[in-house]
């Protein structure tokens, strides 16, 4: 068990390292650079960037300095915002984190129960209806769903706004838009996993012994049936993070999504690097957590890898 976790952690570190390295060289291969930007940076920032990050040196040297600075906790200066990257992140992280957490809660609280109920009522009207809605959820992307919510709900309900991120009511529509698509995937995966377990012999034995339906589900079926859903939580989280780029644009949420896309467009090297580190790191951590949870639920996985 411990070996598996350490193995996974090393893999996570490797993934993060690859990601940062790829980003570092990719963005420097694009035409234009942080110093010849159309949005000219102030001479002080320019000087500061050159001093700290050695932009006048070859790329490999810059790369080594990047790691040296990063490991001592320096994320650098944003060339377009004229602010330390750490400060920009600390300002925009709360909104994105809130959106992501609410989206995840919606996805899990709708997707998993819907999948379980659909599996229990297999081939009923409810099952077919739920699966049709789930298919709809997969096929209707957030950039269609979001504007539709804005037209049909935000303009009708007095306390909801079309865009903005002021009071907690403003959190409702963006997090629904973000979470529902993932909920649809989770519902389908949960249903498949539960159906698989419910057709096993040990469930039939339990039924034959006269165990009540409720305790069959709670004690025998759920633990095995939810394994595929838990395994999907890592990818689901990655989906939510990338989905939040779109949702933040639609509802004008002051989160990190805008910074990510803009920093890549503007060749804002250090802001981009900071964003990739944060997003990539979060995805790696959630994947690791999902793996550990999975090993806890499924004894057969404990010694694998």
């Amino acid at each position: 068990m411990l070996k598996t976790i350490i193995n996974r952690m090393l893999q996570g570190v490797l993934v993060t390292f690859c990601l940062l390295t790829i980003t570092f060289f990719l963005v420097r291969m694009m035409p234009g650079d942080a110093l010849t930007n159309e949005k000219a940076m102030s001479p002080q920032v320019r000087q500061k960037n050159i001093e700290i990050f050695h932009l006048d040196k070859p790329q490999t040297v810059q790369y080594l300095y990047y790691w040296k600075n990063l490991l001592s906790g320096q994320m650098g200066y944003s060339s377009t915002k004229d602010q330390p990257v750490a400060k920009i992140i600390s300002q925009s992280f709360p909104a994105s984190a809130m959106l992501g957490i609410l989206g995840m809660i919606i996805a899990v609280c709708i997707g998993i129960p819907a999948g379980i109920i659909a599996a229990l009522k297999h081939n009923s009207l409810m099952d077919n209806g739920a699966m049709f809605v789930a298919m709809l959820g997969i096929s209707v992307p957030s950039f269609v769903l979001g504007p539709l919510f804005a037209i049909f709900i935000a303009t009708k309900v007095p306390f909801l706004k079309v865009a903005g991120w002021g009071d907690p009511f403003d959190w409702i529509l963006p997090s629904l838009t973000l979470g529902l698509g993932t909920a649809a995937y989770l519902a389908r995966i949960t249903r498949a996993g539960m159906l698989d377990v419910l057709s096993q012999d040990y469930i039939r034995t339990a039924k034959a012994k006269g165990v009540s339906q409720f305790s069959i589900i709670r004690k025998h079926a759920l633990k095995g049936g939810l394994i595929p859903s838990i395994a999907f939580l890592g990818p689901a989280f990655a989906m939510l993070i990338t989905g939040s780029f779109v949702v933040e644009t639609i509802f004008q949420v002051p989160g990190m999504g805008q910074h990510f896309v803009n920093s890549a467009k503007d060749r804002d090297y250090f802001l981009l690097q900071g964003m990739v580190l944060l997003f990539g790191g979060l995805i790696v951590i959630v994947n690791l957590a999902a793996d550990i949870l999975l090993a806890y639920l499924n004894p057969r996985l404990r010694d694998s890898l």
């Binding site: 081939n123 209707v140 992307p141 950039f143 037209i151 159906l195 698989d196 990655a238 467009k265």
Partner: protein, 311 residues
């Protein structure tokens, strides 16, 4: 006495698919959408999608413009169809690239087995951990910047037709990046299938007949995996069409004035309070296309691979 003709896998599958009403309906819907996008614009019925008519911007449906005109007075229907061409082309070409890589990688990994397999799959594990959309955004920006630099060379020095070059500049970076980064799942599917198939007797027979490894893998084993490959391909296409639309929506995919469904959706969202028609119509067509592809994929899985279906 007459010997009864046996049913082939394919005719069985076709029968099962026809019984699945949603999948069958989706198949026909897709035929309609595809012919509309690729054949209709060649006929004189459809106006040029790029002709602007600013005085008539936002004009509702009329005899010359069945679905009305958009913010620049362009015909909405022809925008929708030419945008559909781009979106579908990107989806298909990217899928083609990804399945070629995925099948080759997965087949070699599964067939070789042992240490090679271990290393190859560990590489896929690491790649799998990388956030897909973040890398796609960065790679496609790099590629389109590089290709743009050669745009003038292609037109002036190689005298390629301008519309073709325009198309290449717009969709090639997307197809390449999505295809080059989207093959991991296919590789895993094919690998696990090859692992189990290569233990069957007929493969052993092929080995004992002295066939080459390449022949055994690509001529004997792979044709038997066609079912899962087709199913997974069908389910990949809508995902990639969605990726293209997401990139275009974020402004890093197809660039205006070229049209794609993603572009139309993001432009439509700007006018959602005053001209919701500009959002509704592309949304409907886009969602119906994705829905049909997904239903067809599910139906094909049930038809071709009854064991894998969870019903």
């Amino acid at each position: 006495m007459k010997i009864q003709q046996g049913n082939s896998l394919w005719s069985d599958a076709w029968q099962r698919l026809k019984q699945n009403r949603m999948a069958y309906l989706s198949l026909w819907l897709l035929v309609v959408i595809f012919s509309a996008c690729f054949i209709l614009p060649m006929t004189p019925l459809i106006p040029d999608p790029d002709i602007q008519d600013l005085p008539n911007a936002f004009k509702g449906p009329s005899s010359g413009h069945i679905l009305g005109q958009d913010q620049a007075g362009r015909d909405l229907l022809s925008r929708l169809l030419s945008g559909g061409q781009i979106s579908l082309l990107v989806g298909f070409i990217a899928t083609l690239i990804s399945i070629v890589i995925g099948i080759t990688y997965g087949a070699i990994s599964g067939y070789k087995g042992g240490k090679t397999d271990g290393i190859m799959m560990r590489i896929v594990d690491v790649l799998y951990g990388l956030p897909f959309l973040i890398l796609i955004i960065l790679f496609s920006m790099l590629l389109s910047a590089v290709i743009k630099q050669h745009e003038a060379t292609l037109i002036d020095d190689w005298s390629w037709p301008t519309p073709l070059v325009n198309l290449i500049v717009n969709i090639l970076p997307l197809c390449l990046t999505i295809g080059l980064l989207g093959w991991y799942t296919m590789a895993r599917v094919v690998r696990s299938q090859v692992l189990s198939t290569k233990k069957l007797e007929y493969v052993e027979a092929a080995v004992s007949l002295g066939l080459t490894h390449r022949n055994i893998l690509f001529k004997q084993i792979l044709p038997n995996l066609l079912g899962p490959i087709i199913v997974y391909t069908t389910l990949t296409i809508p995902g990639f069409i969605l990726t293209e639309a997401t990139l275009s929506f974020l402004g890093v995919g197809v660039q205006p004035p070229n049209s794609s469904w993603g572009i139309m959706l993001s432009e439509g969202a700007n006018y959602l309070e005053t001209q919701p028609r500009l959002l509704y119509i592309p949304s409907l067509v886009f969602s119906v296309t994705l829905l049909s592809l997904n239903f067809l994929g599910d139906g094909l899985r049930d038809a071709l691979d009854p064991k894998a279906s969870k019903d």
